[in-house]
């Protein structure tokens, strides 16, 4: 069972990324759950979601101590990094945050996701960069499953599909470089 928290600011695609991981797990025949935490905020506010991918039925859908944190900005990195379980993984968007978690019992991958998204051709693909990084760091779901979800999301928009696929590969390469 892997419990992940995706966190960032509204508009960064945090919830979309979480749903893609849940969908991918589902398509691979795993048990999955997705729960979004929302407040009265919209774009610019904070957004986070908890995703669980498991081989067994999932009891609680909440992740109080996640195995993996994917933080897309500074405030969410600092809010959630103390909660990651010992031995867990943190993937942080280094373009928008420092990467000092103040603890040495977790693996931190510092990914300049905004820059990589820009390189891929569209800043909005920042969540795809982080998905690529997540898949490389955890081998949680197969790349192909994520691409299938992207294909569904960007149906009729081949240019966006290409950008997001490239962003995913860049994120993946960034983690492999740091491994």
């Amino acid at each position: 069972m892997i419990r992940i928290i995706f966190a960032g600011q509204g508009g960064q695609g945090v919830l979309s990324a979480g749903i893609m991981v849940a969908e991918s797990g589902l398509h691979e025949g795993r048990e999955v759950s997705f729960i979004a935490s929302y407040g009265p905020e919209m774009r610019g506010g904070t957004a986070n979601c908890s995703v669980i991918v498991s081989d067994d039925p999932i009891a609680s859908p909440l992740c109080s101590t996640p195995d993996v944190l994917v933080a897309l900005n500074g405030p969410s990195f600092h809010k959630f990094s103390p909660r990651v379980r010992s031995g867990g993984i943190i993937i942080v968007n280094g373009s928008m945050s420092d990467c000092y978690a103040g603890r040495d019992d977790v693996t931190v991958y510092d990914i300049p996701a905004n820059d990589l998204a820009h390189e891929a051709g569209d800043l909005r693909s920042v969540n795809s960069v982080m998905l690529g990084a997540l898949c490389a760091a955890t081998e949680l779901v197969r790349d192909k499953s994520i691409f299938n979800c992207m294909n569904e999301k960007f149906v009729g928009k081949p240019a966006l599909m290409e950008v997001n696929q490239k962003a995913f590969e860049l994120g993946k390469a960034a983690v492999q470089f740091q491994k």
């Binding site: 589902l26 759950s33 407040g39 009891a59």
Partner: protein
């Protein structure tokens, strides 16, 4: 049949649509806005009616009318909106019109907050409106159950001519999970309603009414309702028992909180404490027997709610003093973490031992 990833609220809609719901009336309120959103897209596709009413009061009275014509009808809201519907719900109960009311509970009292809560248990189970009536109240804990229980609610409501309520804590509005959808039921498969005011055109008149001004007529109606509730209690009680056979401590909660308890029970067992969970699925009728049976073997109960203690009263009535029943609750939209529940369970055990 393959599973699809659905929001809890979407699962409620699919459960309704697939069991013949063809009229939806509602008014927006967080955290259940995905229900009217989904219905507005999907009802027209199947020849159903979606109508955004001018208020919650209007919506429940539209349900009164539409369901009275025999059409399976639903309304949905969240706590403050459901309070507004209470007058209509009492009328519908007296007129014995089947329908489904969804309450995705948010934090109260008052306008409260938009985050998950379970503060409407009393209102749903004890009768939030006036008069001697009850609803069939079902509490889903997952997206799958949200679908299945809504599907079931229409059948139970039709069978007993008692309105049914889906009482979901707000987490159902935030949750996405795989759901195996039931097949679409053809309308021709749904039993004909011999009482429906569906246009009689010269045949014998049918009247659905909640004004029974003669004392004996009203008393007969109330007695008939009471007899129906007793029959429902006998036949339609639903509960999930999780590792209770040998449990020393029984944790209990309904809705999504019940699932957090299951995680906590597993962890307690890893630590050497025999814990189990009773999760009522039907809140009315309340699964008293599960608690009575549990009290024979367990030493202590801990009831956990997103309220200051509502269902715990029914748990205490069922346990009837046989064993101590403790309570732990969070409010305001906060949801207890597994670690809090484990701590409270240990506290309950030591308190029970001290009091023995």
């Amino acid at each position: 049949m393959s599973k699809v990833l659905l929001h809890g609220t979407e699962a409620i809609c699919e459960g309704a649509i697939r069991n013949g719901c063809r009229a939806f009336f509602g008014y927006p309120i967080t955290p259940q806005n995905e229900v009217p959103e989904y219905m507005s897209v999907n009802m027209p596709k199947i020849g159903g009616v979606f109508l955004q009413a001018e208020s919650e009061v209007a919506a429940i009275n539209m349900v009164y009318g539409a369901a009275g014509s025999g059409t399976r009808s639903m309304t949905s809201s969240s706590s403050p909106g459901v309070s507004l519907k209470q007058e209509g719900i009492s009328y519908i109960s007296c007129a014995r019109i089947p329908c489904v009311i969804v309450n995705v509970m948010r934090a109260g009292p008052g306008l409260g907050g938009i985050l998950p809560a379970q503060g409407d248990y009393f209102q749903a189970v004890k009768g939030g409106g006036h008069g001697d009536y009850h609803l069939i109240v079902l509490a889903p804990s997952s997206a799958q159950e949200a679908c299945d229980l809504t599907y079931l609610a229409f059948d139970l409501s039709d069978k007993y001519r008692v309105p049914a309520m889906i009482l979901a804590d707000g987490m159902i509005g935030q949750l996405m999970e795989p759901v195996e959808l039931p097949p679409m039921r053809p309308l021709s498969d749904i039993p004909v309603k011999e009482w429906a005011t569906d246009g009689r055109f010269g045949k014998n008149r049918r009247i659905l009414n909640s004004l029974l001004i003669k004392p004996d007529e009203l008393e007969a109606q109330v007695n008939a309702l009471t007899a129906t509730y007793a029959e429902i209690a006998e036949k339609e009680t639903r509960v999930e028992n999780y590792r209770t056979e040998d449990a020393d401590i029984i944790l209990t909660a309904y809705g999504v909180v019940g699932r957090i308890l299951k995680s906590a029970a597993d962890e307690l067992r890893r630590q050497g404490i025999k814990a189990g969970v009773i999760r009522p699925i039907s809140l009315f009728p309340f699964p008293e027997k599960a608690y009575k049976d549990g009290a024979k073997t367990a030493k202590v109960f801990l009831d956990v709610e997103l309220s200051t203690g509502q269902m715990v009263e029914d748990v205490r009535l069922a346990v009837a003093g046989a064993k101590p029943v403790y309570f732990y609750g969070r409010t305001g939209g906060n949801v207890p973490e597994e670690s809090e529940i484990i701590e409270q369970a240990k506290l309950a055990i030591s308190r029970a031992e001290a009091e023995r």
